[in-house]
């Protein structure tokens, strides 16, 4: 009796296994990609499911690079249809895609996202230039024309006008798209003001400009931005680096520091006067259009004016919208499934 039921259970289990092994048709749209784009894809997916009554798209946050890898894995129901990215697709990723038969991709520039450095409301407001941020956070800096290990321990060591307080900045780890963007938009920009570093050969220049210091003042705080927010709250001397949406949601606890005199705000990011913002993209696999039900409608919803336009629901989540003519071009390309050319680098 007992044994019989055991055998039954085993048979059921084996049957379940073999059914799952058969490749299955998929009726949900699958979205992967950057954690920065994740909230926007979430919003579009929920809106799409509510409006059309189609099965809810599956949105997964894998990081920009991880998303590209899965996205470029091939064509077919086993591979995702859309990937989000907090930077443009690289040539190496495009080549990976092509080598796996994913040749027809539409690139959609969704808008911009601001990066902010913030401090607790109890802490000191700061007004720094990108060069000063570089001096505070890089592993090697230029002092009197020589490149040395970063000697700055206090903000006032860099410039006497800055507060006399220890440098303590929490930021994302190297696996994060936010970190890539910070390095590109702040460190590499700040680097340009130092003649001795500019004079280095290409590899050494890249290394010096991109390496963050590891002697304490810069703390890698993990991917969870909420944790950084909590730690900033408990330590008014610490500064944190994260996407603008986290600052926006926590403005009762945090204030954004000024970069070159400009505070991070929706208006200043949109008009470009706040210097640290990055483009946000998503990529659509055109071979899946018409195969995965609803993909065309989903892309239309994602690029509609209600979503990515001014006052749209993506703006409410922290997206900085595109100017009108650029937006119209993007919407048209997305609708007509225009294939992107190979990236330049």
């Amino acid at each position: 009796m007992k044994l019989k039921s055991l055998t039954m259970a085993a048979t059921v289990a084996v049957a379940a296994l073999s059914v799952a092994g058969v490749a299955h048709a998929r009726d949900q749209i699958q979205v992967v990609g950057s954690s920065t784009v994740f909230p926007f894809s979430q919003a579009a997916a929920e809106q799409f499911a509510n409006e059309t009554g189609s099965p809810a798209p599956v949105v997964e946050s894998t990081g920009t690079g991880g998303g590209m890898k899965i996205f470029c894995g091939g064509v077919g129901t086993g591979h995702p249809d859309v990937t989000g990215a907090s930077r443009a697709m690289k040539l190496s990723e495009y080549e990976l895609c092509t080598s796996n038969g994913v040749t027809d991709i539409t690139e959609v520039l969704l808008g911009f996202d601001g990066l902010s450095m913030a401090v607790s409301r109890k802490g000191k407001q700061l007004d720094v230039s990108k060069a000063q941020l570089f001096q505070a956070l890089a592993a090697k800096v230029e002092v009197d024309g020589k490149i040395v290990d970063n000697p700055f321990k206090k903000w006032s060591d860099i410039d006497p006008s800055l507060p006399n307080a220890e440098i303590s900045v929490m930021g994302p780890p190297p696996t994060s798209g936010t970190r890539d963007a910070w390095v590109e938009l702040v460190m590499e920009e700040g680097c340009k003001t130092f003649p001795a570093i500019e004079a280095l050969d290409k590899d050494a220049h890249k290394e010096t400009c991109q390496r963050m210091r590891t002697d304490g003042p810069f703390i890698e705080a993990g991917e969870n931005d909420n944790l950084i927010v909590q730690r900033l709250e408990s330590d008014p001397n610490a500064y944190g680096i994260f996407g603008y949406s986290f600052l926006y949601e926590n403005q009762d606890k945090l204030q954004g520091i000024k970069v070159a005199g400009v505070e991070p705000k929706e208006e200043t990011i949109a008009d470009g006067s706040y210097g640290i913002s990055r483009p946000i993209y998503f990529y659509v696999k055109n071979a899946h259009r018409g195969v995965i039900p609803g993909l065309n409608e989903f892309v239309t919803e994602y690029t509609s004016d209600e979503a990515m336009g001014p006052g749209g629901y993506l703006e409410e989540r922290g997206l900085i919208v595109l100017a009108e003519d650029r937006r119209a071009a993007v919407q048209k390309a997305a609708k007509d499934a225009v294939n992107m050319p190979a990236p330049k680098k």
């Binding site: 055991l6 379940a16 799952a20 994740f38 798209p57 997964e60 946050s61 931005d225 926590n250």
Partner: protein, 430 residues
């Protein structure tokens, strides 16, 4: 002379003193040891209390959900009875909101006003009309959630005494909110949506249904696979297998397998089930299979212990009356060992329920606004849902993350309680 009489006496007395001092030291050491033990327990309990206390305090705001009630007019002709899902419900809702605040007319102000209410209101209205089309042409009363900021304002998480720059709501929004409170349109009932709604990007609409159903399917698969396989393996190893190098090696490996970090099983699942067998990403079936790999060693070890506890006299008696080996095991040993096996299985499943790392690798940390219909549909699980919410910027998710942790802990405590009850109730002492 006196020396000879006093000598041993003094020696004896010295020995007594020494013994006395030694005894005192030993008692002291004894007391110290006990004090260390008590201190360790107090420390551990203190940590536990702090942990649970913090979670409970953080979760408290998520126990209720601030709702707002509106009388919405659904004019005849605004909804096509043949296709009621196509009606413009947001417009109707906006009209009834505008009736209460007639002087709000600039687009900016309208947008700020709408920010107080959840986006879910229009869909609730739609569902109501879909369920009962006879409501078209009448006035419908709907009660739907305030938005995240409205909710936080009502619960006092957003402090209205702060300067306007420091908070998410501005002074006009607070004034509107006060009007609604005065009119009695705001209520805060228990937050059942937390358990019965699927996930959403809006904290006020987000719930655990998808995660609960996903975890259920994953555990079902895990049980269906690991229970029979685990018992079969354990019965063979314990009752039939010869004792030799090979079975020793297998035994050592099973014990080692129980100690392998779960992320390794996740990588294995990604490589084997997803990439090789081409199973669907994010599906509970794959999650269940990966978890069953983890649960198997636990079940095998528990089953073998339970089988060992059945005294040999039972087996000998069965064989003595002419039962075959299989009959002995199937009719006598296994039923007697069943309580122990089930206890081990439940504890193994409880472990699997709380496991996060392997599920992250096979994509069960996706955002899906619907609960899965079957084990082949994508879904999340309880721990991965907590992971997603913990990473969301909206303030409402802070309390909901803690509330979800309490739900998960609740299930774990229940499962362990069942295991303990079964052990106490059915276990036989020989």
């Amino acid at each position: 002379m006196s020396d000879t009489t006093h000598g041993p006496d003094r020696k004896e007395r010295n020995a007594w003193f020494e013994a006395d001092a030694r005894l005192k030291r030993r008692h002291l050491a004894d007391k110290r040891l006990r004090a260390y033990g008590i201190a360790a327990i107090v420390f551990a309990l203190g940590m536990l209390a702090t942990l649970v206390g913090t979670i409970l305090i953080t979760a408290a705001p998520a126990v209720t959900q601030t709702m707002v009630t509106f009388e919405v007019e659904v004019p005849e002709g605004s909804v096509d009875p043949a296709n009621p899902s196509g009606g413009s419900y947001q417009t109707m809702l906006n009209a009834s909101i505008a009736r209460i605040f007639p002087d709000v007319d600039t687009p900016r102000e309208l947008r700020e006003l709408r920010q107080l209410f959840s986006n879910g209101g229009q869909y609730q209205l739609r569902d109501k009309i879909l369920a009962d089309p006879s409501l078209i042409g009448k006035t419908v009363s709907i009660s739907f959630p305030m938005s995240d900021i409205g909710d936080q304002l009502h619960k006092g998480v957003i402090d209205r005494n702060l300067p306007p720059d420091f908070r998410r709501v501005n002074d006009t929004q607070i004034a509107w909110y006060d009007v609604l409170v005065e009119r009695g349109q705001i209520s805060s009932p228990l937050n059942w949506g937390l358990l019965f709604n699927a996930d959403s990007r809006f904290p006020e609409l987000a719930g655990l249904r998808g995660a609960l159903v996903g975890s259920f399917f994953a555990l079902l698969v895990c049980f269906l696979v690991s229970f029979p396989v685990g018992i079969a393996a354990a019965v063979y190893l314990e009752e039939f297998a010869p004792k030799n190098r090979l079975t020793d090696l297998i035994e050592v490996n099973i014990n080692n397998l129980a100690a392998v970090p779960s992320i390794v099983f996740g990588l294995l699942g990604l490589a084997v089930f997803l990439n090789f067998f081409g199973m669907p990403r994010s599906a509970p079936i794959v999650g269940g299979l990966v978890l069953s790999l983890m649960t198997l060693p636990t079940i095998i070890i528990a089953t073998r212990a339970a089988l060992k506890a059945v005294p040999p006299s039972i087996r000998e008696a069965a064989i003595g009356v002419g039962a075959s080996k299989m009959q002995t095991v199937g009719h006598h040993v296994l039923p007697l060992a069943m309580p122990g096996i089930l206890t081990g299985t439940i504890i193994g499943l409880a472990q699997a329920l709380g496991e996060t790392a392997p599920l992250l690798l096979i994509g069960m940390n996706a955002f899906i606004t619907a609960a899965p219909d079957s084990m082949f549909n994508p879904s999340t699980a309880l721990p991965t849902q907590i992971y997603i919410w913990a990473d969301s910027p909206e303030r409402g998710f802070t309390s909901r993350t803690s509330a979800a942790i309490i739900v998960l802990l609740g299930f774990l405590v229940c499962m362990n309680a069942i295991a303990i009850y079964m052990r106490k109730r059915f276990e036989r002492r020989w």
